[in-house]
Amino acid sequence: MAQTIWSGLTMGAIFALIASGFTVSLIPTGVFNFAQGALVVGGTFLTYQWLAKAGMPVIPAVAVNVVIGVVAGALCELITVRPLRLGRAVGGGPSELVTTVGMATALVGVYGLAWGYDPLRVPFHGPTEVVTILGVRMEPVEILLVLGAVAIAFALHAWFKYTRLGHACRAVAEDRDAATLRGVNVNLLSIGAFAAAGGLAGLAAFAVGPVTLAIPTLAHTLALGGFVALAVGGEQSFVGGLIGGFGTGIVSALATRYIGADATNISVLAVLLISLTVRPAGLGGVAAVRSV
């Protein structure tokens, strides 16, 4: 069972990283960027390109990936969100969800054209010897993935809670008009948030790629997993998303191991339904108060 739980934690870490990316762009914009999964998959292809084909050292490859991710994230905002915002004060409607889904689909097509649809093995330029901890066999890249997801979630939580820019983002999330009146540049925050989420995707891809392989069609699977993690954890909570991701991964792995393959997707759906029933705002979310 411990081995199965570790498998669940590994998969859950990937979902948590995607959920963190969703939350970064969601807080200051109110937009759920469905293309986040596609950005991570793009990062895995670029990782393959730099490490397996170009023979680039790891540090420069990571830096290039993050820069490209930042640019890609910014372009996502400019193409899928900004045009819909023109003349509209309030964001985060269904239109942006549709356009980001379209962006995700377009990116998948681009990856297929550039690298083909056959899966590619993404190398990991770190230790590869399996280690055994408390009877559980773990690959070093899996340990990096789990610890990385935890570190990133807490770092982002701290940034949004204790920094001036983080406060500005939360102010926009609470009341966009009031934040604008107080001098917050909401458009710059919007593009910055998407760019940051893109950079996070590029960074995460270094650990995600060696585990999942680089496959264009994986984008939607990862996005759905990240969405469940976000829904369970609460849409503005990084720690909640982390717990949601781990929980979803563990439940899914245990269901697959002890019930069967048919139970995998059903178990994830069950997690989602139960959490939304018991705590609709999510584990880390706060129920919104509305005056009537």
């Binding site: 199965t4 570790w6 649809y117 056959d118 899966p119 093995r121 066999r137 191991r257 393959a261 995998t264």
Partner: protein
């Protein structure tokens, strides 16, 4: 004046109907013939093959190799007088790897072109199963890379009278694997099966083959969307299997081999027919492929010297050789064209009825088959009959890089 204008108005549609009637009586593709299904036009000096498959989508690699295989076979046949003196021409109908698109594009092709002499009905089972009813309804002759999920086996010819495949039934390769397990003395087989139709379709044959040989088995299923199958492999390890039969494809193979290596489970692995659909060395490290084999056609093993393979390789070289798939993809396609040519020669005709009757006669010998030395069909079964020749076409190959369609096993 009014009567004249009215007569002029009525004359236009009347003239159109008359022209259509004249047109239909002049060709076999007109209204009366289409009621019975398209019949290929004769006497134009060309044997046209319409290839329906993926040339641009997720299965582009497979589709391109099948198409190139048809082109190579067409070139060879044309060098040797064509099919009954008719030049063989291959036309591509791209379905982008989508089953519903395959039907739409074929229907569009049939309405804008004269009926082909042969249709290559898809490259994977979903498309083939969607295309076969359309092709059958129009009375067209077709071959496909596989059987559309059991649509061309025993007892199906009433529904698909002119449709054939060169791919033998699943019972054959799983029998080869089961014989290998028996020979090696394995007591319990752990079966890891990806939840896809090709793997699930093999399951009853494998379980039956193992039961017949007195070998125990434990089965786990892996979701097609899974990116980690460690729990399932761990379950088989806990069950005490002394060999792993791995029936997954593409990325799933990479996940499975990685899971086995991570768990330190050093039992031998034998992969199913789809194991090497994508080169396993591109999915898993050499270490993870240690003591890994898979069942496939001998023509895919670089250690095997098969008749006529040199002719196939010579002709496929013009199209860049075999890339990203096993050689059997091209040779099974090649064999379909050779069988069609042999049937046409035997029947002295190329109509669907004549070709079918010749193929069903039991033996359409050709000296130019590359995968299996002979193909036998019956009036009730349009899959190759299971004969010694079919059994002889398979082998267990050690994993290794696939270069131009042939596996260079690490074990050599």
């Amino acid at each position: 004046m009014k009567i004249t204008r009215l007569a002029a108005l009525l004359a236009v549609p009347a003239a159109c109907f008359a022209a259509a009637g004249c047109g239909s009586s002049g060709t076999e593709g007109g209204a009366s013939a289409s009621a019975q299904g398209n019949k290929p036009a004769k006497g134009d000096g060309t044997f046209t093959v319409a290839f329906v498959g993926d040339r641009s989508g997720p299965l582009k690699t497979l589709g391109t190799n099948v198409y190139n295989g048809l082109q190579a076979a067409a070139d060879y046949l044309n060098e040797n007088g064509g099919i009954n003196g008719e030049k063989v021409k291959i036309e591509s109908v791209n379905d982008n790897g989508d089953a519903s698109t395959s039907v739409q594009v074929l229907l569009k092709y049939l309405t804008t072109h004269k009926a082909p002499d042969m249709v290559w009905s898809g490259i994977e089972s979903n498309s083939t199963s969607a295309l076969l009813p359309v092709i059958s309804k129009r009375g067209l002759f077709s071959y496909s890379y596989q059987d559309g999920g059991g649509l061309l086996g025993e007892g199906t010819t009433g529904k698909y009278p002119h449709q054939f495949t060169t791919f033998p039934p699943s019972a054959v390769p799983v029998g080869v694997v089961a014989d290998h397990f028996k020979k090696m003395g394995y007591k319990k087989v752990g079966i890891a099966e990806e939840s896809i139709s090709i793997a699930q379709g093999e399951r009853p044959y494998m379980l039956k083959a193992l039961d017949e040989r007195g070998i125990k088995h434990e089965l786990v299923q892996m979701p097609a969307t899974a990116t980690d199958v460690t729990p399932q492999i761990d379950k088989l390890k806990s069950a005490g299997a002394d060999v792993l039969y791995y029936n997954g494809v593409a990325a799933n193979v990479g996940y499975g081999m990685a899971a086995r290596a991570k768990l330190g489970w050093k039992v031998p692995v034998v992969g199913g027919m789809a194991f090497a659909a994508v080169d396993p060395t591109s999915l898993a490290s050499k270490k993870a492929l240690d003591d890994v084999k898979f069942v496939n056609f001998k023509v895919t093993d670089s250690a095997e010297d098969r008749p006529n393979l040199d002719i196939v390789e010579q002709h496929i070289a013009k199209y860049g050789g075999v890339n990203g798939v096993g050689m059997n993809v091209v040779t099974l396609t090649w064999d379909a064209m050779m069988a069609t040519a042999a049937a046409a020669q035997q029947a002295k005709a190329t109509t669907p009825d004549a070709l079918t009757k010749a193929l069903e006669s039991g033996s359409t010998p050709s000296e130019k088959y590359a995968t299996i030395s002979e193909y036998s069909y019956t009036s009730t079964n349009h899959e190759p009959k299971i004969t010694d020749a079919v059994h002889d076409a398979y082998t267990i190959i050690g994993a290794g890089p696939i270069v131009h369609g042939r596996v260079n096993s690490f074990e050599k």
